[in-house]
């Protein structure tokens, strides 16, 4: 109720004030029109009396002020034209001082003063000095601020600056500076005094009113920056020290914050760079409630932009030791403000780091220093839990990654891992993912085992369970994404030198082996393939270096591979392990290492026997075994026989008859290898094919019994195709007669009443016959071969 009454009242008073001004303005204009000086002075004094009110808030007072201001402009024009009023400006200056009340008197005096200076009948500096001192007569904050603001406004164009018309003997820009500094100091004092005026419960209203007036005070700094005579030297020796003195001594937090920021924004960056020590020296002297970190951040931001836009000034930054000064200042501020929360300190360091990365990107020692300061600040505290702080720390750690586009550089910062150690487990993982993504995005190659070691330490949150966490808590999708990222990362770890590459592989293994059963299926395969790639590189290289103990040999790598794949047994992941063993077997074959290849095959078979239970998985697994074995050329007869015997045996023991049939005829290829040294055992080929035929027959009968009809003849057609294959290869045991017989068999089956017609197998048979016809029509050796077969 009180407040709304207050606002209504204010509106009323403002309206009254405006009416008063308008009323007197009417008579003022009449006086001006008739060149009546006396009347003009009378009515302008009355008009200005409205500004004596103390009932208006600054916002409303301003409206009143503006109206008075407009009238004073007219008055000034009148004063300027001596012909109109016949009074010399000197006399005028004296005359207006007879006005009754001090406020109107001073407004009139300032107005005349402006004319006086323009007339050049007195040195500008004398008039200005007089005015700035006289204004002391008004000590009421709002009224005084507006009065002095008026003074500043009208004197603006008459300051004795270099090359201005008001420069003269004894009238220099230093006088202008002095004037503005004094006006500024007085205005600040008035402004600060407002703070102690109102009762404490109206604090919010007071702050608002003070903020409404702040630009009046700040304008003076702007004017100072515009005075041409103020160069770096003057700024450094006179302007800045005086302004800072005022800022520090006023001991008012609102003023201090605003004015520090104003200084930074208004004066050129070049000046700040050269006066860094002075400027920063003021910071610890400010009230503890001042948000100094924002001020410092803005300063650093300006300087960063300055460096970015004008690279030629970079040497200057080094010369003034900008980094050291800023770093020390921040340290002092943090020390002085004991109650500053951690998030504040870290935010400051983030700003400093951003500055460093912009201005001195090549100075990794500076970057490391900033990180080190953070470590110091964070140590002794428990792991961070405040999300604002962790957000800032993540920003701190991401900045070097973004800047350098190269994780390798970040890896050389000794304090980087130490900062990461202070993150809680969840944020640690977030940061680890950020690091991996940076590597992937920039296609960075991490090329030494030392760097890999540092990297895997950094991302250890992803690699294993660190204290207090367990993989059970994780969302499955997130976990998969994490682990797949780690897997992708492994392909970025590479060195051309085999020794170093092996070291890298060993380092990675050391880290991932502790990952546990949930992680190993993701991390083991990429490591295995990295190792296999290395084996191939060594295999392709020229011979051994005689006499030297070479750590990186295929044999040693296969030993390591055995260990690595074996780790999958804890998961357990038999199907994956089986595939990896077969890959190793092939690689060992290519290196001519028969016992190693045999050992890998043994492992694969053991897994097949003991662990692969699912029938579908068995089918795939046995085909992989057969396919791999078919390509092996390193085995001697005994070993080969043992393995092929096993393969064929397991093929025949698959659960479903069609699967058995197909696996067995696939085995036929084990006995026929097309290259010049390869086995070409036509007898055993035929044995396999006959066996698969028997199985196909049995399958047909089974279908007959269980469903009352014959199954599709597909299997027979498949076997027929295999007969043709070996027939064409020239296996003497596969005769045209046998093929003929098989064709008749199929035809009979297809025509039999009990057979369900199956378009697919019909088409298959048809295309097979078409193929035979095609081969017959070829003529030449092939045509001859096929001649006995009649369709």
């Amino acid at each position: 109720m009180m407040i709304s009454n207050g606002i209504e009242d204010e509106e009323k008073w403002l309206a009254e004030g405006i009416a008063g001004i308008q009323h007197n303005a009417f008579y003022l204009h009449r006086a001006l029109d008739s060149n009546n000086l006396r009347e003009a002075l009378k009515y302008s004094a009355l008009l200005l009396s409205e500004l004596r009110t103390s009932r208006l808030s600054p916002h409303k007072y301003y409206e009143l002020y503006m109206r008075a201001f407009d009238e004073l402009r007219r008055l000034e024009m009148f004063f300027k034209d001596e012909n109109r009023h016949g009074c010399s400006v000197v006399d005028l200056y004296e005359l207006v001082q007879h006005a009754g009340n001090i406020l109107p008197r001073l407004y009139l005096l300032c107005t005349v003063g402006s004319v006086y200076i323009k007339s050049k009948e007195a040195p500008a500096k004398d008039v200005l000095k007089d005015l700035v001192e006289m204004c002391r007569g008004v000590q009421h904050p709002v009224r005084g601020l507006f009065l002095r603001s008026y003074l500043a406004q009208i004197s603006r164009d008459e300051l004795p600056d270099i090359a201005s018309e008001y420069e003269g003997e004894g009238d220099t820009f230093m006088d202008a500076v002095e004037f503005v500094l004094q006006n500024f100091a007085e205005m600040n004092k008035l402004w600060v005094r407002m703070q102690h005026q109102g009762p404490l419960r109206e604090r919010e209203k007071l702050d608002k009113e003070r903020n409404e007036l702040r630009d009046l005070v700040g304008k003076n700094l702007h004017v100072l920056s515009q005075i041409e005579g103020v160069d770096l030297e003057i700024y450094r020796d006179t302007v800045l020290p005086r302004v800072l003195e005022q800022v520090v001594n006023c001991k008012d937090e609102l003023a201090q914050y605003y004015l520090m920021d104003c200084i930074i924004q208004v004066f050129p960056d070049e000046y700040h760079l050269q006066t860094l020590e002075t400027l920063l020296g003021a910071c610890p002297q400010l009230q503890s409630a001042v948000d100094i970190k924002t001020v410092l951040s803005r300063l650093m931001e300006r300087l960063s932009n300055y460096a970015a836009s004008s690279p030629e000034v970079l040497p200057e930054f080094l010369q003034v030791e900008a980094f050291t000064k800023l770093s020390n200042a921040i340290g002092k501020v943090i020390e002085a403000q004991v109650d500053m929360p951690i998030v504040g300190a870290i935010t400051l360091y983030v700003s400093l780091l951003t500055f460093t990365l912009h201005v001195h990107p090549d100075r990794l020692d500076y970057v490391d220093q900033v990180l080190g300061a953070c470590v110091k600040k964070l140590s002794g505290k428990a792991k961070l839990e405040d999300s604002r702080v962790t957000k800032q720390v993540v920003a701190l750690l991401s900045a070097p990654l973004d800047k350098y586009n190269d994780i390798v550089t970040a890896l050389t910062l000794s304090n980087y891992p130490r900062v990461m150690d202070h993150l809680d487990a969840a944020t640690n993982k977030v940061m680890a993912m950020v690091i991996i993504q940076s590597i992937m995005k920039n296609n960075t190659c991490v090329s030494t085992s030392d760097k890999v070691e540092v990297l895997f330490e950094l991302i250890k949150g992803l690699i294993k369970d660190i204290e207090g966490t367990s993989t059970d808590e994780l969302d499955e999708e997130d976990f998969k994404e994490e682990q797949n990222s780690v897997a992708r990362l492994m392909h970025m770890l590479y060195n051309d030198d085999p020794e170093e590459m092996l070291k890298i592989i060993n380092t990675v293994w050391k880290h991932i082996m502790a990952g546990g059963p949930k992680r190993l299926p993701f991390t083991v395969p990429p490591l295995v393939f990295s190792a296999l790639k290395l084996v191939r590189r060594l295999q392709v290289q020229d011979g051994d270096v005689a006499g030297e103990e070479v750590p990186a040999t295929p044999k040693k790598i296969f030993q390591l591979l055995n260990q690595i794949i074996e780790a999958l047994s804890v998961v357990p992941s038999p199907e994956l392990a089986l595939r990896l063993y077969l890959q190793c077997a092939e690689a060992a074959n290519d290196c001519d290492l028969e016992p190693v290849a045999y050992e890998f095959f043994t492992q694969a078979f053991v897994l097949y026997e003991e662990e692969v239970a699912d029938s579908k998985a068995q089918v795939t697994a046995i085909h992989l075994i057969i396919g791999t074995l078919q390509r092996m050329n390193v085995f001697g007869i005994e070993n080969r026989d043992t393995l092929t015997h096993k393969a064929t045996g397991y093929s025949a023991k698959l659960l479903k008859k069609p699967d058995q049939c197909r696996a067995v005829y696939a085995c036929s290829h084990l006995f026929w290898v097309d290259d010049q040294d390869g086995t070409k055992d036509g007898e055993r080929v035929l044995l396999c094919l006959k066996r698969s035929l028997r199985i196909a027959n049995a399958a047909q009968q089974m279908v007959n019994v269980t469903r009352g009809s014959s199954g599709p003849v597909t299997l027979f057609v498949e076997i027929l195709n295999k007969y043709l294959y070996f027939f064409e290869k020239g296996s003497p045991q596969i005769t045209g007669a046998a093929i003929q017989g098989l064709i008749e068999l199929i035809k009979t089956e297809m025509q039999s009443d009990s057979t369900t017609s199956n378009p697919a197998s019909d088409a298959f048979f048809a295309s097979t016959l078409r193929y035979i016809r095609f081969q017959k029509q070829k003529g030449g050796a092939m045509g001859e071969k096929y001649d006995p077969i009649k369709l």
Partner: protein
């Protein structure tokens, strides 16, 4: 003109971290009508990525695929052509063209797309054409040494298919093309 992308054996993330950037920038969504994939992606993220390139995606199961429900073989008709896809680890000896021809006769398709060897081939035989798009990431293979990343784009137009093979050699994308014509009438 129907564009069909054929690729496979990416082996992400076991053997490769991603498709080569030069390939990725070529695979713009909306330009291709069908994708035929020989398998071994091997994770869902790759599946999802391929879907964004073209929603009509046909995949055959490779032995490392995370998704076990992809079929062993698949056939589809595009225009005048019947196409079939099979990863190829099931056809022994691996990469043997005569054995693949048998599969082609069995599936009764004009074009058989198959993988596993990581070696690009395009081969015409009695029953039709066998195309192996190689490995799109150039990943390690126990069968082929020095694998270059490759994929195939087929332009099917009436009875004619032009097979473009894109291969990344020493950092540059090289393109080659082969023409195949089908005789009128289906294979009886």
């Amino acid at each position: 003109m129907v564009l069909v992308l054929a690729l496979g054996d990416l082996h992400i993330p076991h053997r490769a971290s991603d498709l080569p950037p030069k390939f990725k920038s070529m695979l713009v969504p909306g330009k291709i009508q069908h994708i035929i994939c020989t398998g071994n992606l091997s994770i869902k993220e790759v599946h999802d990525y391929l879907k964004t390139v073209c929603p009509d995606l046909h995949i055959a199961r490779g032995e490392y695929d995370e998704e076990i429900r992809y079929p062993e073989t698949k056939t589809l008709t595009i225009g005048q052509f019947k196409l079939g896809v099979c990863h190829g680890h099931q056809v022994i000896p691996w990469g043997d063209l005569d054995s693949l021809a048998m599969l082609q006769r069995q599936l009764d398709v004009d074009i058989l797309v198959t993988g596993h060897t990581h070696q690009f081939t395009a081969y015409k035989h009695e029953a039709g054409v066998v195309i192996n798009p190689g490995s799109a990431t150039g990943s390690y293979s126990s069968i082929t040494y020095d694998v270059n990343p490759s994929f195939v784009l087929m332009d099917i137009d009436g009875l004619r298919v032009v097979v473009y093979v894109y291969e990344l050699i020493d950092g540059e994308v090289k393109v080659d093309k082969i023409d195949f014509k089908k005789t009128t009438g289906s294979n009886t």
